[in-house]
Symmetry: D3
Subunit: 220 residues, 6 copies
């Protein structure tokens, strides 16, 4: 995206070092482009190739903070569903810092009574439940179910969408979800296909966070 | 705002019949304008002059639903902090329908740990607390305090901002709020002044809802 | 029921226009009759034939309020499991106004640790869960399951009881319910049969609400 | 109250051995009398003179259970705000057993958004809060405040009503209570005076429980 | 265990009169022995042979209190998963009184995100859920499942461990428990075998409570 | 403490680099010493001099994880009230890893109905409230109040105890706390003085965590 000197800038940081994911974010965010705003997607060079373990989460917290300090922006979005470094980045700047898990879930709460989450792998579920309790919104969770794939498979695998549809149906029909949150930044490309198939809203948390960021910055 | 045939349209409905409030919404939303989107602010002709009682809330529910049915739009925003008719409007359309109380609070949850609400009058507080429990987010409420003014006074009164600052300080210092939600569509003009004075984010719920609506529509 | 001038009066309003339902209420409430009290069951003429959609709920709110204003009574009971117009009616009178969903659930809480709800159709379940969160009693819910019938079928269908028993068993055995709330005013005729079969208390919410109303009025 | 052989019987047990309290219960319950029902108020001979300590609560549990076993009734009401022996009595009979704290609070929940409780002494408050959490209704509590009197003083003291009014005003004005629950069976005589003074509903939990008991038995 | 005059003393009371259970406690607690501390396991002579009903719970409350009063100790542990008499014992002494259900669950909360409970029989589950709500920790419960055995069978039955493993697997795999609490003092002998088989921590609540008691006393 | 080859070892890590704090931990833990166990208190060389900001918390997470990996132990205790690195350390070892905030609060829950927390400075309170929601135990919090001192002042200042007593009285008398948790590892030396003055239990979270660790290891 072109970027003029007077533009207000949303810095979207992909905390993993996989540029393909960053380019995927750019694609997912293209529809949110508007004049006067630069939505810059940036790969965190110091990040691991994927963020799956708690150690990956911890490892990127201070590099994210450093990037936030180093790069001027009107708002920052941390584009990983574990919201790594969210609180330390907030401490480092007066500008808004948004996490995609928080914003994806909050946006889902505006669309239906209870939400379901599609996780990449079940080992992340306790971490996500902990985050939901921390947010104070667990009462709205219909359920969380995992694809049981790796992040890499999720992004590239040809049958990822088929798995997402199967899991989404369980969330909708067994758990009573009225809206689905995709629990990984790398699932963005499947949003429309999944939504069309399920017939209920499907939230890409990166899009949700950037839309909130634009709204906050625009009125500041 | 001009409105071309191919624009996607966000219909923002002021459920009261006070055109001055509607024009105030237009002013508050101007910074959110972007090409390809029409943000239409509309006064509900059938609405009462102000919405203060539960009867006012009930009275506008079906007229709002009728307007939603009659007017094609890509998303609808109900611009009254009581979120009147929210669920019946959702039933009447497949398009997103957002309430400003919900969106204002959800946006606040992305900015700080606990939020405070400035109400116009204390008689609305039980209704607001009921809505917070319904949303399942009460654990994040720091407190709600009232200006003890009428809606009319809030919009016009010269010392409204002074009252809002006093109440906002109590929410911040006594109750521990890290972000403030303005509990009335008519307070929009005071957002910046209040934020500057308090030094913590202040959310105009109409702006918050329209930003979420644009984000949802843009990626649809 | 005969009604002498000095009687205290409980006005039970069936918000739908189906007189057969109103007569069913009279039957269900007959055992609660006592001297000095008139329990008047009234059909809301303006109501739809059944209340299934949110639009039906909204449509009757102000007519209920008007009826409450027009008809003097010592207490009012709104006899529909969606508790339509409850808050606006309370605003219109100093007398107690009780909703059957609230009273049915509250009475269940006095009988066993966790309650189950039999809904007519699953599309009402999100609305009911929303109401439970609003009441602040969700932690006591064992589960809610639907008959997947229309309201009309529920009242007339010969195999309604069989369906209720099957659903009630699931609530008791799979979900751990120790008491059942019948989630529709039209299920009253099946209360005893269901209770006998399940061996746990079954609450008719209309009876529960009128009993509470009598208690409140008697001591006023 | 006279008691014919065919009457259905509500046995109201005062767990303390103070007959004056039992006679007070009879007075408070007189307005609930109806043909075909006997409301029998009984003093638990084995009870202590007042129930203030946890030891008093424990001491009466099994004597209450024994009385429930020994005395046939259609429903039982345990008339002490600590609900002593509630669960063990339920285990001993298939008939409904109601506790006045539970029923008083549940009835309050049908009257206003948040309730306040007047305790006799502050040392009971942790016990009451524990019970509220157990009931799962803490989110509706506005506050609990104590008279700081003994049970004996509460019943006899000439200025008890004045204390209750002062405490009730704090619950209403500082804590936001829309309804008051009197947290002791011995406060019954002050209900009307307190309600008149405060202008919001005041619940006598004994009356609330007996009204619910009559409702349950009448339809059984 | 030998017991010198200057030792600090933890009195562990088995509220049932089954000495075999008491000897089992001694075995389970042997690894916690340390110089300067006497861990005395005592059978409550007045107790029933097993505690399964609410009546059993009530029956031992005051005898436990009397024992606490009679026997000097630096801390008391009530070794029954229903925590009988916990609050009345606390009222009778200034020394710490710990219940094993509370301590077992609290210790589990330090080991994993959500815990599962193995109950002896499903009829205890409502009582346990009530206690969890009272503790305010229900949000961390993954699930509770029953062996459907008697307490006697649990202790002696040769296939108890096999049943526990089957139930533990369901708690881990279906309910998402990351730690298991054994819901009966008599299951202690199976802790290691169960933990080895499940691969997640298994908490013996008696050991948990005595460890906490030693910690409290040691620093007093 | 001497440390024989066969001892089981509890490694207590002070995440800040202030050796005086580490020596303070050793003093506080001396009463928990027992034969066969080595309680090793270790300063994290890479830590900041004090942990007050979120950045301090993040900075020590991976160094703590590395230390856990490098140093064999039977259990690990992270001795900072922000529980830094807790989840990543758990991921790195099969041995128990305990955080002092979690264990201090859990131990408090076994002592009284509601707990109060003494924080060093009010800026930590939102972080602590977030952690309480994550733990799922917020309903037991009476209140948290700050000394408004630096960590350094807390440890050294001669009037720290006086401040703690004043704050503790507010927690006890205004907020209703029945037990106090000291919200900083450096407050340990004041535990007895504070407890004597307040007359309710005061928990040093380091002692609480080590006692739980010993209990877990002893029975492993």
């Amino acid at each position: 995206m072109t970027d003029s000197a007077s533009d207000r800038r949303i810095l979207v940081i992909n905390p993993n070092s996989n540029d393909a994911v960053t380019r995927g974010l750019e694609g997912a965010l293209a529809p949110l482009a508007r004049p006067g705003f630069a939505i810059d997607c940036r790969t965190l060079a110091e990040g691991p190739f994927g963020i799956q373990l708690q150690a990956d989460v911890e490892q990127v917290a201070l590099p994210l903070r450093d990037l936030v300090r180093r790069e001027a922006a009107d708002a920052y979005v941390i584009a990983c569903y574990s919201d790594p470094g969210l609180h330390v980045c907030r401490e480092a700047t007066d500008r808004p810092v948004l996490g995609i898990a928080e914003c994806g879930i909050l946006t889902a709460l505006a669309r239906a009574d209870r939400f379901g989450v599609i996780a990449v792998a079940s080992r992340s579920i306790p971490r996500h439940l902990r985050a939901l309790r921390q947010m104070g919104v667990s009462d709205r969770l219909a359920g969380e179910r995992a694809l049981e794939m790796t992040v890499a498979e999720t992004a590239s695998g040809t049958d990822t969408l088929a798995r997402m549809i199967a899991v989404g149906r369980d969330l909708r029909d067994r758990d009573g979800a009225g809206v689905i949150v995709m629990g990984c930044a790398g699932m963005a490309v499947h949003r429309r296909g999944l939504e069309r198939e399920l017939g209920i809203p499907v939230i890409d948390p990166v899009q949700a966070a950037v839309a909130m960021a634009i709204g906050i910055v625009a009125v500041a």
